[in-house]
């Protein structure tokens, strides 16, 4: 062809029946007299047929063990969340610089937002969860996770490992936290106000599991002792 054939660029639209009726008629008239376009049209249709006949193939390695490990956590970790968990364990003061994410999972973006943020500390009585096998434990964690997921980007949280260390001033070495009641996890809620935080906390599955919840507003540098 001495001049570029405009239909060569539009044959996919013909294949997909995306052309207006008048264009379709013009294209068909062109095809009747253009061998290269007819060949391309056949090939495009073959590509389409072949691709649609491709079978699904499983992954080369078993991904389940990694998924199963992940299921014992309430929500995916992010760098931000790890930093937050460390802050909870050592001192709530580490929180002062934070504003919560507008959406969970983006990891690094900090967004100022109207409303208040509340920490739900999930307290557990001594022996909480003893005697559960891995599947039963995963089922409970999943229940908590679904509660959080239903709240969408307003809620995030983590389960804490049972073992931990206590550091006291002047006591020298850190010692394992003793058996007995402890904090087993936390949720962070972005809410309008304390009433909403309280209403949501009342629906948290932790209460039905036999734990109790400590509800604390994040001060964000403004303590307001009565809120």
């Amino acid at each position: 062809m001495s001049v570029p054939d405009p239909w060569l660029e539009r044959l996919s639209e013909y294949v997909d029946e995306d052309l207006a009726p008048s264009e379709r008629a013009a294209c068909e008239a062109h095809l009747a007299g253009c061998e290269p376009c007819r060949e391309l049209l056949d090939d495009l249709r073959r590509v389409q047929r072949e691709v649609r006949a491709l079978p699904a193939r499983p992954p080369a390695r078993d991904l389940w063990p990694g998924i199963e490990r992940g299921l014992t956590r309430v929500v995916p970790r992010s760098r931000w969340l790890l930093a937050f968990a460390a802050g909870v364990l050592v001192t709530l003061g580490a929180l002062l610089a934070y504003r919560f994410l507008a959406s969970r999972g983006t990891g690094s973006e900090l967004v100022a937002r109207a409303g208040e943020d509340y920490l739900l500390l999930l307290h557990e009585p001594a022996g909480f969860g003893n005697g559960l096998d891995q599947a039963q434990h995963a089922a409970i964690v999943a229940r908590y996770g679904r509660w959080a997921a239903d709240l969408g980007a307003r809620c995030t949280g983590e389960e804490l490992a049972p073992a931990g260390l206590e550091l006291r001033p002047g006591a020298g070495a850190a010692v394992p936290i003793p058996d007995g009641p402890r904090v087993g996890g936390f949720f962070l809620l972005a809410v309008r106000d304390r009433e909403e935080a309280l209403a949501l906390a009342r629906t948290c599955p932790h209460l039905e599991q036999g734990g109790w919840i400590e509800l604390r507003r994040i001060a964000h540098g403004d303590p307001q002792p009565n809120k």
């Binding site: 090939d43 699904a56 193939r57 992954p59």
Partner: protein, 182 residues
Amino acid sequence: MELAPRSDPSRPELDALARAAVAGDLAAFERLYRATVARVHTLARRMAGEDADEATQEIYLAAWRKLASWRGEAGVATWLHRLALNALLDRVGRRGFPETGAEEHLGALAAAETHAGARIELEEAIAVLPEGARMVFVLHELEGHTHVEIAARVGISSGTSKSQLHRARLLLRAALGEGLNP
């Protein structure tokens, strides 16, 4: 888009596994995973390339958390596939949507051509398509979305979607050459 799952267990069987998983049955969720992972991972390979394993694991972790929101109107395989597609689109969206770079991929396409087996060749040829063309190709040709839907979801114009699809088909045609079954 309501593609029927290609995996073996029937829809009622898969839905029953999903209901058991909602109630916390981890073994049922594992069976659901094994019955559906080929289709999810195939989509992940096409959309996320070498990140397919990681993306697949994230999809199933999200599925476990969100399964309670599955209402049962669509089969769980369809629900899972939608979840997977959205997660993969978000993942690709974080990387940006490149519009150029077809020509340097022709060498890679030609290399893919040398492998034995037309089916594998075709998978590999899809895998090395330029990302923009590959996304549109997968969404249109394999997921059945219209150009208007793709444009809205990916953030390109409908015209760009059409031209990327055509480009992908031309590149696949060039790569497959004789490998195409008449």
